[in-house]
Amino acid sequence: MRKAIVKITHTMSDETYKQLCDGVSARFGTDTEFEKVFDETLVGGFVLKLDGIVYDYSVRTQLKNIKKHISD
């Protein structure tokens, strides 16, 4: 029984969220329990914490990267 924490914003529809959870279960195993957390600071996208690994696909992180990319 593994636990996954998914942080999303309110702009994500339930349908997309379900798509995400199904995809993860298919890949990692169907005994995954999902916890939904709303975090508006992400601006968009999601952050998935599972099995000791963080998958940060949020727009906020991308903005940070862009900023660093420009400054170089």
């Binding site: 529809s13 997309t16 995400l20 890949r27 601006v43 968009g44 999601f46 400054s71």
Partner: protein
């Protein structure tokens, strides 16, 4: 004789006269014999002494003249040396003043160069700061914009990207 007596000239007077004259003669002879020589010696010696003193004085005077000449020569040399020293001193002062001027010029150039460098640095820094400011502004604006603009389609795209990646991992 009576004529003589009427004049007052008695025998005693004539005797006195003869005795006096005789005494004078005798005295004269005695003094000449006794005193003449020593006195002459004394006078000669005095004359010699005076002559010697005169000679000494002349010699001193000559020497003084000689010394005066030497002194004049020395003075002349001093003057030469003085003018030489002055000339040398001038040369040195001139050289040093040139050095100082060159040094001052160099320092001034250095200062100007440093000031230029600093100005460049400051300019770059300001430009850098301006850059950062622009970037920050842009990011804030984008972020604020995106907050309102992100819709579900974008989210869907991101999720699909993610699923593709992990599926790729699974098959690998």
């Amino acid at each position: 004789m009576d004529m003589l007596t009427s004049l007052g000239i008695t025998k005693d007077l004539i005797a006195d006269l003869i005795i006096n004259i005789g005494s004078i003669v005798v005295l004269f002879v005695i003094v000449k014999k006794l005193a003449y020589k020593p006195i002459k010696k004394f006078m000669d010696a005095r004359a010699e002494r005076l002559a010697a003193q005169k000679a000494e004085a002349e010699a001193l005077s000559e020497e003084a003249n000689k010394r005066l000449d030497e002194y004049n020569i020395l003075l002349a040399e001093c003057d030469n040396a003085k003018s030489e020293a002055i000339a040398q001193g001038e040369a040195i002062a001139h050289r040093e003043s040139e050095q100082i001027i060159t040094e001052a010029k160099r320092t001034a150039e250095e200062i100007i160069r440093k000031a230029n460098e600093k100005a460049q640095e400051d300019y770059k820094k300001t430009m850098g700061e301006a850059d950062d400011y622009i970037v920050n502004l842009t990011m804030e604006a984008s972020s604020a914009l995106l907050k309102r603009a992100v819709n579900d389609d974008d989210n869907k795209k991101i999720v699909e990207e993610f699923l593709k990646t992990i599926d790729g991992d699974k098959n690998a």
